[in-house]
């Protein structure tokens, strides 16, 4: 079975490809360049096409499948409404599949389930990365705010931290927000 992944995110596509290979699907091609999409799909002649839902080229693909005489016509997975739950899961995960007619439903379902779990894993990864970035920035802000307090009020590092933590608790804010406010104020008072 030949599978094409159309995804502008190379990392996510690689994660998906790896998953498909692990599951025994050996012929997997990744397309990230949206130019000449149809020509490349024609050359590959896939049984399944997977596309991320943030991809504006999805409309282009869909028309190609409708008019093209050259490719075997893949149809959207939605045409078979038998498994609404897995369709819903794939939309929530952000992936859609086009499938050449005649493919066994169970095989498609296993591919789709795999897509969903890999796409979800990718967004978890992204969220974690995002959080790590924010944490790092927060820590930097905190350190700078501590420095401001230590200098202007002659505090130790520990005292400066406790002062901010106290303010955060009183005002029901995050300590990073307090640190931000201190830096802004310090900037204005310069």
């Amino acid at each position: 079975m030949k599978i094409v992944i159309v995804d502008e995110s190379p990392i996510r596509a690689a994660i998906l490809e790896e998953g498909l290979r692990d599951a025994g699907f050996m012929t997997v091609e990744r397309l990230s360049d949206m130019n000449n999409l149809l020509m490349r799909i024609q050359a590959i002649d896939p049984d399944v096409i997977l596309i991320d839902l943030e991809n504006p080229s999805r409309d282009t693909l869909e028309q190609m499948f409708q008019v093209s005489r050259a490719v075997r016509r893949p149809v959207a997975m939605f045409v078979d409404q038998s498994d609404a739950a897995s369709i819903r899961a794939s939309i929530d995960a952000g992936v859609s599949a086009y499938i050449v007619d005649g493919l066994k439903k169970e095989r498609v379902k296993s591919i789709l389930d795999l897509c969903v779990s890999r796409f979800n894993a990718f967004s978890r990864l992204q969220n974690e990365l995002e959080r790590a970035k924010t944490d790092l920035e927060d820590r930097k802000t905190l350190d700078r705010a501590k420095g401001v307090l230590m200098k202007s009020k002659g505090l130790t590092e520990d005292e400066a931290y406790r002062l901010m933590r106290g303010a955060a608790m009183r005002e029901n804010k995050k300590i990073a927000d307090i640190a931000h406010a201190i830096l802004t104020a310090a900037e204005l008072l310069k």
Binding site: D59, V67, A76, F78, R88, I91
Partner: protein, 389 residues
């Protein structure tokens, strides 16, 4: 509360003709009706359709032919869709590359502003290219089931071009149109606002025709819902429709265009320059880089002064275009199913002021037979290009 919901998710595509929906939400008309609406910007019509069909969205800003295709089950699963409000009519334009415009001027017999002349000139270029063995001309449009597709096809066929044989029609996401025109992937396109203006401003294209040159009153976008939602929760649908009626009246007043443009310009809405949007709302567009302006009060109609009431004539006309271009085969019950997509009764129920029977504005094409919704066979028979019943 009897199953009435007040939290709604509504999908839209960043286009000026989503104005009434966006204003209904951002200007508080929906909140005043007790609705808490989350607007979700989407990147493709396929996404909007799928998310509406499967229930991720409660409603959507949708191409009118997509709503009908969904009700008929064309190219996709059949999910009956209904529209209690007509979001927009017209609003598209045909833009061509500067080289193609120069060629059209060279071969044109008459005034290129007249679509009959421009279509004949285009046919002449198509013939010349065919003879010299050049690649066929390529035109971009937004979706197979779109008025853009039908406008391009109608115009070309009037000049003697078979759009399925003589040229290439490709779907392009609107944000890619300009780039595709400048790098020569397409020679022209038909798209909604603001994308034509952006191509003109970037000096890669020239607006050849407003959509109104092809059809005086063409259906374009609907506020679309699943029929099952309309049936199970009529009070919410009425509230949503009322919010749209009020928003459309606000959008329709020229004095509010500046504010409407500012709302739409936000990055999470249409996200382009407010001035360009305001010009579109005013129906005043620069058609060429040399600054030539063109004004047409009907360039884009956004549901004001009663035009928000769904008109079943539109459904039958769109169904006829689908028949003509082979997107559907004539079968019993399809025309009725198309008509059921346009629900003036839901509009009237929301309006609460009795039936607002409105005389249909004829769609009025620049050429060809006049449209008769009672005799589609004869209408389609009158065209030399396209399928018959």
């Amino acid at each position: 509360m009897t199953g009435a919901r007040n939290k709604l998710r509504i999908g839209f595509i960043p286009l000026v003709d989503a104005a009434t929906l966006v204003v209904a939400v951002d200007k508080g008309f929906a909140r005043a009706e007790g609705l808490d609406v989350e607007l979700v910007r989407e990147v493709s019509w396929s996404n909007v359709r799928d998310k509406l069909n499967i229930g991720v969205f409660d409603a959507a800003h949708l191409l009118a032919p997509v709503a009908i295709a969904s009700s008929l089950g064309l190219g996709h699963i059949k999910v009956p869709i209904v529209a209690p409000f007509n979001l927009a009519m017209n609003g598209n334009a045909i833009t061509v590359s500067l080289p193609l415009y120069a060629q059209l001027r060279d071969v044109a017999d008459g005034d290129l502003a007249d679509p009959s002349s421009s279509a004949q000139a285009l046919a002449e270029i198509v013939r010349l290219r065919g003879k010299s063995g050049a690649e066929p001309l390529t035109f971009g449009m937004t979706f197979p089931f779109s008025t853009h597709n039908y406008q391009l096809r109608y115009w070309m066929a009037a000049g003697g071009i078979d759009p399925d044989e003589d040229v290439r029609l490709v779907v392009l996401p609107p944000p890619y149109m300009m780039q595709s025109l400048s790098n020569g992937q397409v020679d022209g396109f038909c798209v909604g606002a603001p994308w034509n203006s952006l191509a003109v401003n970037a000096s890669v294209g020239r607006i050849l025709h407003f959509g109104v040159d092809i059809f005086a009153h063409a259906p374009e976008k609907l506020l679309a819902l699943r029929e099952s939602f309309a049936e199970s929760d009529p009070s919410t649908v009425a509230a949503l429709t009322r919010a749209h009626i009020k928003a459309a009246n606000f959008v329709g007043q020229a004095a509010n265009h500046e504010e409407v443009a500012a709302i739409l310009a936000r990055s999470d809405r249409v996200g382009v320059d407010a001035k360009v949007i305001q010009n579109t709302l005013d129906g005043r567009l620069r058609v060429a880089l040399d600054g030539a302006l063109r004004e047409d009060p009907n360039y884009l109609l956004l549901g004001q002064s009663g035009a928000g009431r769904p008109d079943q004539l539109h459904a039958v006309w769109l169904y006829a275009q689908m028949l003509r271009w082979g997107q559907v085969r004539c079968a019993a019950g399809l025309e009725e199913a198309a008509k059921r997509t346009y629900r003036a009764d839901l509009y009237d129920a929301a309006h609460g002021d009795g039936e607002h029977v409105r005389v249909s504005e004829p769609i009025s094409a620049f050429a060809g037979p006049s449209f008769d919704d009672r005799d589609l066979a004869r209408y389609l028979e009158a065209f030399s290009i396209g399928r018959k019943i």
